[in-house]
């Protein structure tokens, strides 16, 4: 069955490619990359209970000081240790094809990806065994006020960015109103494969029983040049129509007042009767170079109904954040400050004398200095104290850019992770180079190489995450006519602030 599907896919692509070849114009953009990773995975090891030492009343460790998990009565305790050093080389080829001119308004778009990975750690590379992806491949007919797409395509919406196999139609009955309807077979996010048990079985012990298809619609209204809003409804239906995998809605808006703009997003899961996102943000126009932005966010994770997770009543948090960015008049110096505080909803679980953190906060600072027309320096520092894990990060970058064709940068980084649920504190320092050079307007070379050194505080034998990473990438383009963006899906004029 899979072979048949693959064959149909290939034939379809060949037909579309032939159509593209016959078209008036075509643009093919490619990205060919090679990435190298050298690291030490971790494995679970055990040690006889009798060989462990008592750290506290409830903790035991290996003779080397690595804290273990010991179940009372078991003869062995368990802990993580680093496996032998392993490496991989991943090759990825992306192709982005756009062809037009078959007839007015008709065009073809496709994003294709081929990949492979070699090395003793090749499994570590995401989807290393999935050698060929069709991210999208669709025919578009775009003649105002209509736009129609047929094939594998993406939806960008308040419910996320996802692709599906099907059709979409957009119409603008008025300049201020746009209506978009879409439907088709659901794909697994990131895998570009239909949602079925075979795809998820390797990582999911209770996979969905059947495939699904989704239907949805969006209505966009722009009452004035200063404001716009968009409503969305979508349901994901099991192929046998016996159940829903999801039923959700979203509303997003932006409105521009004098000197300030207000934006927001609300998403609703009708199955769990939960608001997954309630976002509202205010962005102020810069005053003396200072551009403030404040945001309120209520967040609850969303889970598909083919999993049981939604029934576990996950709770969310409320968060307020503020950001201040300042730039000097000549824009040679820019500074930024951010801060946020979040508080989790009541979980109605746990015991009072063993509480976990129910709040978190974060602060960050960024800075950039254009020391000359050629040299620039950037740096950032962040501290994030949170339920589950905490971290502090510092990064600095010095860039030399002698022309608009290329640049070379030296990066340095240092950070530490504090794992709340695991005894351990990892510290990492890293440094490396990154550069790019545009050989021709349609040909660019990019490369980077980084080294990271990891140490485990107070636990020298903790899992070692030392890494060596490098990548080179060649980006190229055949054909020069722009217009590969596809049809517009927005309404009305946008007024300058």
């Amino acid at each position: 069955m899979h072979a048949i599907r693959s064959g149909i896919t290939v034939l379809g692509l060949l037909a579309l490619a032939a159509a593209g070849a016959a078209a008036q114009g075509a643009v093919i953009q490619g990205s060919s990359s090679i990435q190298l990773l050298d690291m030490r995975p971790v494995v679970t090891d055990s040690v006889p209970f009798a060989a462990t030492d008592s750290v506290s009343a409830v903790l035991r460790s290996t003779p080397n000081g690595v804290v273990t998990t010991c179940v009372p009565g078991d003869a062995y305790c368990f802990y993580y240790r680093s496996a032998a050093r392993a490496n991989l080389v991943a090759l990825m080829q992306n192709l982005d094809v756009t062809a037009w001119g078959l007839r007015p308004g008709l065009s073809f778009h496709a994003q294709l990806r081929a990949r492979t990975a070699e090395g003793d750690a090749r499994e570590l590379w995401p989807q290393a065994t999935q050698t060929f992806d069709v991210l999208d491949a669709y025919v578009e007919y775009d003649r105002s006020p209509w736009n129609a797409r047929l094939g594998r395509q993406w939806v960008s919406s308040g419910l996320g960015v996802f692709n599906f196999d099907g059709a979409a139609v957009t119409v603008h009955p008025l300049d201020e109103i746009g209506i978009n309807l879409y439907g088709g077979g659901t794909l697994v996010q990131g895998l570009d494969r239909p949602l079925d048990a075979a795809v998820l079985a390797p990582v999911e012990d209770i996979p969905p029983v059947d495939r699904s298809f989704l239907v949805g619609g969006q209505v966009q209204i722009r009452p004035s040049a200063d404001g716009v809003m968009r409503f969305q409804y979508q349901r994901e239906v099991r192929s046998d129509r016996g159940a829903l995998y999801s039923e959700r809605g979203a509303m997003a808006f932006q409105y521009r007042f004098p000197h300030v703009s207000l934006g927001g997003l609300v998403t609703r899961d009708f199955a769990t009767e939960t608001f997954n996102d309630v976002d509202a943000n205010l962005a102020f126009d810069p005053w003396r170079g200072i551009a403030p932005r404040v945001e309120f966010r209520h967040y609850v994770p969303y889970f598909d109904l083919w999993t049981i997770w939604g029934a576990f009543s996950p709770v969310g948090y409320n968060e307020g954040t503020a950001a201040f960015n300042w730039a000097s008049a000549d824009a040679r110096l820019a500074l930024g400050l951010t801060g946020g505080y979040r508080s989790y909803d009541n979980t109605y679980t746990g015991v009072a004398w063993l509480p976990l953190r129910t709040s978190g906060w974060r602060v960050g600072a960024t800075g950039a200095l254009r020391a000359s027309d050629v040299w620039s320096v950037q740096g950032s520092y962040d501290m994030d104290i949170n339920f589950g894990a905490s971290s502090t990060d510092g990064d600095v970058s010095v860039r030399w850019q002698p022309s608009d064709r290329g640049s070379l940068a030296l990066h340095g980084t240092a950070f530490q992770n504090i794992y709340e649920f695991t005894v351990g504190e990892g510290r990492v320092v890293g440094a490396g180079l990154e550069g790019a050079y545009q050989l021709r307007p349609d040909l660019r070379f990019v490369g980077d190489a980084m080294l990271y050194h990891h140490t485990g505080k107070n636990q020298p034998d903790l899992a070692n995450w030392d890494q060596r990473r490098a990548s080179v990438r060649l980006e190229w383009r055949l054909g020069g006519e722009p217009g590969s963006g596809g049809g517009a899906w927005t309404v009305g004029p946008v007024r300058r602030p």
């Binding site: 953009q29 971790v42 679970t44 903790l59 496996a83 499994e123 995401p126 991210l135 960008s156 996320g160 960015v161 990131g190 209770i206 040049a225 716009v228 969305q232 997003a252 932006q254 009708f270 199955a271 769990t272 009767e273 976002d279 943000n281 551009a291 945001e295 969303y302 109904l305 999993t307 049981i308 939604g310 029934a311 576990f312 009543s313 960015n325 008049a329 820019a334 746990g350 063993l354 960050g364 950039a368 950037q378 950032s380 589950g388 894990a389 860039r399 608009d404 794992y419 545009q438 980084m450 990473r469 590969s484 963006g485 049809g487 899906w489 927005t490 004029p493 946008v494 007024r495 300058r496």
Partner: protein
Amino acid sequence: MNFRRRFLVVPAVLLAAATLATQQPRRGTFPHARHAKLFPTCAGCHAGILTGDSAEMFPSPDVCAQCHNGTDVRRVAWSGPVRAATNLRFSHAEHAATSATADGAAVECASCHGQQAGRDTAWMHIAGAQPEACIACHQHRASEHLAAGAVCSTCHEPLARATALSVAAIAAFPKPASHGDPDWLARHAPKNDAQIAQCAICHARESCERCHVNADQVPAIQKLASDARVADLARERAPAYFTPASHRDAGWAYGHGHDARAGAQSCAVCHTQSSCLTCHIGSLGREVIARLPVARAGRPSGVQLVDPARASPSAGGSAMRPFDASAVTLLAAAGDTVRLKLVHMHPAGFATNHKAAAASGQFDCQGCHQPRDCTACHDGVSTRGNFHPGDFMSRHATAAYAQEQNCSTCHRVETFCRSCHQKSGIATTGGVRGPAHTGQPLWLLQHGQAARQGLTSCTACHQQRDCLRCHSDLGLHVNPHGPNFNPESMGSKDKQMCLVCHVTDPLKK
């Protein structure tokens, strides 16, 4: 008396002529002052100045040799200078005939050619005539030479008529102070024929064509004569552009299409279509862009916009946090003339907080972005590697628990997070003996709170059956539902999900 006036006029004119020529280095080589006692009149040597007879404008070497004969005085090899090319509208003969002082006396040569603008009246202490000497007599609204209000044509011919001027001489034209004003480029367009004539004194059509990409469509530019010498100069100089005040406004980039639609001809002064197409790859604004000139060889390039990603693979570098490029936008300072300008459309932090803007359709993203710009991140396997900071693999735990960026926007938990955790050895399944959670030895009592607060993170390692061992009717009957759980609502959507825990054996594969 009449004779005396004439006597005074003649030497004055002669001296003026001689001093005008001091703009050429050779003119200064004759030591007039040292010969002051020898020559009683200017016309003795410079008779041709008044008559226009070039042969008699300067004395011949024979005149010098009368004294510099090697016996009385050493020999010299001096010859009269070649008259310098000029764009002055000046006639000594005419001035000699018509000029007069306030009391009616003719102007003396020394009035213009005496040192220190005529104040040093010692005989034959001469210097080049200065423009101020002209202004001193001519009724002229300009207070000084090159003043903003000067009417240059009073003394100068249009450049196109000054055919004798060399390219070097044109290149050495003094620059009026007004042209150095920071706002000069913004308001230098001539408003009438008189102003065009003013420009034509120093400039030709090619002067404008050096920068104006729509020069062939601007009447004021077409009224200027073409000049090959200026063309030569223009070829050697790069076009210079400035940042208009409107472009420096906050949010200019967001809504510039509104202004472009209203006045594309203004854009066409500095921009060709290629400026727009640097960003506009979609259909947005195509009809407006089509009204701009097309970049062609032989034309100025116009303002060159550069996608910063071309030169810098990531705004902050692949090892940096998503440090939005807007924070380091290289804007031109007021009055700058810039050839290269980095343009960032979105405000700081947009890479991480564009969700509402994109979802609302505030902007037509596809006007400037290709689908791959979205899928590069949202497909879950980034090909650019510049969204997360370096070694995000080691430091992503905090971000994953906090969900500040909502990981599921780009990554599916099962196929991305859990898959990697399993392969790298982090995730274990099947019981309570895994080495994780060592920080909480009484984890069993705490994991409920942790799960409710960070369930996404739990699922990054655990499969459903890990929990169903206890939380199911066929397990230990531990109820996982919260106080606000609505079984009817959920069950009405997918009853099979309920059956997993309540009817079938969750531990049976």
